[in-house]
């Protein structure tokens, strides 16, 4: 058994990076879904997660993608948006 060829290695690292991103997004969605019916009227749909992932894939930082694709889609109240941003900030860690 040897190391994969470079092309395959790049593909597998890209896949693992995408998998880590997906894991983080799902964890964020799970956290935000606990707020449904009490703090939020609407919940985080899978479509919003896909949009956020596409934004990250196109080069937007994860925090900005989370704010634009998820937080801004859930509320237009400034105080609630600031509180949701704190949850996004706490859920994302650059090193993970």
């Amino acid at each position: 058994m040897d190391y994969p060829v470079p092309r395959s290695s790049a593909a597998s690292s890209a896949n693992s990076a995408l998998a880590r991103l997906a894991t983080r997004l799902v964890k964020l969605a799970s956290a935000l879904r606990r707020l449904t019916d009490q703090d939020l009227e609407e919940t985080v749909s899978t479509r919003l997660l896909v949009v956020a992932a596409r934004l990250v894939a196109s080069g937007l930082p994860e925090l900005a993608a989370g704010r634009v694709a998820i937080v801004d889609a859930l509320t237009d109240d400034a105080e609630t948006a600031a509180a949701l941003n704190e949850v996004v900030l706490a859920a994302f860690h650059p090193g993970d």
Binding site: A31, L35, D39, A83, E86, A91
Partner: protein
């Protein structure tokens, strides 16, 4: 003059002894929304309310300035029970406002991860910290800054004595260990060796940790839930709004057994003693002349409230005072009233001018009745009543039993 000097001195010594950083203070109200949402997003109970904590006795060494000023004995600490998450109303622990704000958010995440204590206070907080950082990896950098700032504020263990020294060493060791990755497991294995339970009351407050009383609260709630609900609903129906003092602070309390007899204790003034609020004493206060308008301040001064069943509440007495119909809404009487005869059934005779019919004018007449003159109708009714009375007196067979005082 003495009062003026006393005020100036108090202000001066209080400022000089204050170890907090008022310029970097952050109020709970400013971050309450974020705290609540972060707490629930981390898996905290939906029914738990975030409330301001009340000051309680704390440990730790005090400087001579604090001793002179009488400060450093009480502080609002973060506490979690089955119903509430009590956080300090204002945090000015660190000299950086951003750090104080991060402390609120960290406490929200930490409290959501507190489970029933496996070990002592230190182990429970370390386990909860590790769990919170697993849930929210984005808090790692903030936690590291908070832990380092907290470590910088800790007193030297060598200056302490007795159990405070050992506990302080354990606290600092735990804080340093929490800066390493996967610290909970290593701490658990190291802690099992010495095994000395640590008491938070003996050391200075660890602001990045909290006190969890989940079991105590659930026990007391289970024991008193039915009665409290019944009393609350009863009081809510009768309590006038606005008079009952509302205070959202979370205060420490304990149930006390009322072992006194029926007659209350008679308190007399002794010049050589200083009366103070200390323990539960049943005092007969039914003849108090005035309410204590600042009951909230009195409760703040008490370390722990003693709650006993029985007795009358102040709110009940206020309710009695205010539940009467207001005289300002009564109709206005017109004149002395029309004299009318009344049938005396015992003597079987009609007594002349025995009762009166009082005319009233509505204080707030209905729009439909405005402009109408009811006087002719009343005069006609009076004439008819008098005629009927005379006829009844003449014939007597069907005398009226009562021509009452109508209003």
């Amino acid at each position: 003059m003495e009062e003026w000097v006393g005020e100036r001195w108090h202000r001066f010594i209080t400022r000089a002894a204050d170890a907090s950083h008022p310029r970097a203070a952050v109020a709970l109200d400013e971050v309450a929304r974020a705290v609540e949402m972060l707490f629930r997003a981390a898996g905290g109970d939906r029914l738990v309310r975030v409330v301001p904590a009340v000051a309680q006795k704390i440990g730790g060494p005090r400087g001579w300035l604090q001793r002179v000023a009488g400060q450093g004995e009480r502080a609002a600490l973060s506490t979690l029970d089955a119903e509430t998450l009590a956080l300090p109303p204002v945090l000015a622990v660190f000299d950086d406002a951003a750090l104080n704000r991060d402390l609120y958010l960290w406490l929200a995440a930490l409290s959501a991860c507190h489970v029933e204590a496996e070990g002592d206070w230190i182990t429970a907080n370390l386990n909860a910290s590790a769990q919170a950082l697993r849930h929210f990896p984005g808090l790692r950098a903030r936690y590291r800054r908070l832990a380092q700032a907290q470590l910088a504020r800790r007193p030297q263990p060598a200056r302490l004595r007795g159990p405070a020294e050992a506990t302080e060493r354990a606290v600092q060791q735990a804080l340093r260990a929490s800066l390493a990755p996967d610290f909970a497991a290593s701490w658990r294995s190291g802690r099992a060796a010495d095994g000395a339970p640590a008491s938070p009351d003996t050391v200075a407050p660890v602001w990045i940790w909290l006190h969890a009383h989940l079991q105590d609260a659930s026990d007391s709630i289970a024991a008193c839930a039915d009665q409290t609900r019944a009393e609350d609903s009863k009081d809510q129906k009768k309590r006038p709004e606005g008079r009952t003092q509302q205070d959202s602070k979370r205060r420490r309390a304990q149930h006390s057994q009322d072992t006194s007899n029926k007659n209350g204790l008679v308190m007399f003034f002794r010049a050589e003693s200083i009366l103070s609020w200390a323990e539960f004493v049943r005092v007969n206060r039914t003849s108090d002349d005035e309410d204590n308008q600042d009951a909230s301040q009195v409760a703040d001064d008490m370390e722990q409230l003693a709650i006993a069943k029985g007795g009358e509440t102040l709110a009940a007495r206020v309710r009695f005072d205010l539940d009467l119909p207001s005289a300002s809404a009564d109709d206005l009487p017109v004149g002395e009233g029309e004299p009318l005869p009344e049938w005396d059934y015992k003597r079987g005779a009609l007594l002349p001018d025995r009762c009166r019919a009082q005319r009233l004018r509505a204080r707030h007449p209905l729009p439909d009745a405005e402009g109408t003159d009811a006087a002719p109708a009343v005069a006609e009714l009076t004439t008819r009543l008098k005629g009927t009375s005379r006829a009844a007196a003449a014939s007597r067979p069907c005398a009226p039993r009562r021509a009452g005082s109508t209003a």
